[in-house]
Amino acid sequence: MPEAPVLQTIDLCKSFGMVKAADAINVAIRPGELVGIVGANGSGKTTFLNIITGYLKPDRGRVLLLGEDRTGLPPRVITKLGISRSFQIPQLYTNLSVLESLLLSVAAEAGRGTGFWQPLHRRHWIDQGLETLDRFGLKPYADRAVSELPEGGRKLLDIALSFALRPKLLLMDEPTSGVSIEDKFQVMDILMKVVEETRLTTIFVEHDMDVVQRYGRRVLAFNDGKVIADGTPGAVLADPEVRKAVLGRA
């Protein structure tokens, strides 16, 4: 008897006017899986993450997290249940330092985010924060302002903030978008090392086929809000329908 899926969606549908951004999506993700989602711009990848995390409400269908129906709950509650995500456009506190930002995630994870008397800078939180920064190669930037980070660092910090919440499922939206081609694989190497070391169940969205091919264990291909293929990277990326949808050529 396998464990219950960390994430299961049943018949998820969402339209914006005439555009179907999610069209009957049925997906199950089991503990420990590393899943890449591939698809062209506008194929519904981000919408999928937005629905799962409660930023958008589905028109129809259900979202099951760790075996329970959590459809339509707000992002705050979903996050508390152990589902955290990073963003295509990094969502950072640009008026704080890198360490301060991370400490806020550490405090939230400890259930002390609403404390208003004890300081944020506590020894064991700082240690914990620095350790996480180290994992993501950001320790040298700890005391720098977030606004001074280069784009690759911004992406990594965005993911580190989500990772520090110690989620049961981590969703990464285009972790390498906006990162230069030379740095892309370096960023992905750092991320995959973290994921492997912590055996974290992870979904990452990516429009670059090379990245998906190299790092995915299982790949879902999206097109027009539908899952058009689900399998190993080799099988999915060889599928002519996928190649046509993602690359625009067979």
């Binding site: 707000p74 705050r76 996050t79 955290s84 995500r85 506190y93």
Partner: protein
């Protein structure tokens, strides 16, 4: 955080403030006492400015504190500062807890203007319910006692001054702790990115609400001290011009620090005293022009000017050493 260094400057500043009654004439003592009282309301406004939120209505909690003094004297014969201070803070917090249920949902222009609307409702009520509030005539504060002790008349101002100074010290400490706490950092962070906060499992609305209640208590404290210092409580305490002054002073002093608003308040009361003597009709215009200048050229206020000077001075000392 700014307050981690500066023990020397802080001590010098505190020593100067403690010395005020011995060196300054009585009318100046009055000005500094009033500045200390208003400082607490300014701090309340500054908290929200850190989160990029403007409030044009915090005079309402200042008025709540002041009217607590007025009604205390009128109805119950209360005039003890040690009793009315916590009462005023409590009323301020209670009203804020109620209004905050609505306000915590709103940001930016809505937050600014709804605060204005609420404060103007209070102003209207204070003005029109004259059989309760005394209308434009207002209410009188009792002659204050301190833990039951009634000081001789000539020392009354000194007692009020040191009380204000003590309360200001406590307030600075408390707000400093607040700002260094997780919630304090979330407050600053929400000005930049609310989505990330929600995606950390924390509630921006909760951050707003707690801050709002705290700000109500702070402004309430200020109102109590101002009520006793001036001795006379009128609806203007809740008027938009008073709220605007608080915002102005927070901007003048710099809302990035706890001490900035204190410097701003003291500077402001002195400027105002002279300005109302020499050009009473251009007062608001002067404020407007200064505010424009700060926004366009010095967004950090007086505090950053001081920091800039301190940095330059400090560097010279290092070079000398």
């Amino acid at each position: 955080m700014e307050t981690r260094r500066l023990p020397v400057e802080a001590l010098v500043g505190a020593a100067l403030l403690v010395a005020v009654p011995f060196v300054l004439p009585a009318w100046m003592k009055f000005i500094v006492t009033l500045a200390l009282a208003k400082f607490m309301a300014v701090l309340a406004v500054a908290l929200f400015l850190r989160a990029n939120q403007v409030t044009f209505g915090h005079a309402m909690f200042y008025a709540v504190g002041a009217y607590a003094v007025g009604f205390g004297a009128k109805w119950f014969g209360l005039r003890d500062v040690a009793l009315l201070l916590p009462l005023g803070a409590l009323f301020g917090a209670a009203v804020a807890a109620l209004v905050g249920l609505v306000m915590a949902r709103y940001r930016e222009v809505f937050f600014a203007m709804l605060n204005l609307a609420f404060s103007m409702m209070l102003y209207g009520a204070l003005l029109k319910l004259y059989w309760v509030t005394g209308g434009t005539d207002g209410l009188s504060a009792g002659v204050p006692t301190f833990l039951g002790y009634a000081p001789p008349r000539e020392y009354l101002r000194d007692f009020l001054y040191y009380t204000s100074l003590g309360v200001a010290g406590l307030v600075i400490y408390a707000v400093y702790r607040f700002l260094a706490s997780p919630l304090g950092y979330y407050l600053k962070a929400m000005g930049e990115n609310e989505i990330r906060i929600e995606y950390s499992g924390e509630s921006v609305r909760h951050v707003m609400y707690v801050t709002y209640v705290l700000s109500g208590a702070l402004a309430g404290l200020g109102g109590v001290l101002a009520g006793f210092t001036v001795g006379h409580i009128v609806p203007e305490y809740s008027f938009w011009i008073q709220s605007g002054d608080f915002v102005f002073v927070a901007l003048l002093g710099g809302y990035g620090s706890v001490v900035g608003p204190l410097m701003g308040s003291i500077a402001f009361e002195f400027i105002r005293t002279y300005a109302s003597k020499y050009f009473p009709n251009e007062w608001q215009m002067t404020l407007g022009i200064i505010m424009l200048a700060i926004i366009l050229f010095r967004p950090g206020g007086l505090w950053t000017i001081y920091e800039g000077l301190a940095a330059r001075f400090g560097r010279r000392e290092v070079e000398r050493a």
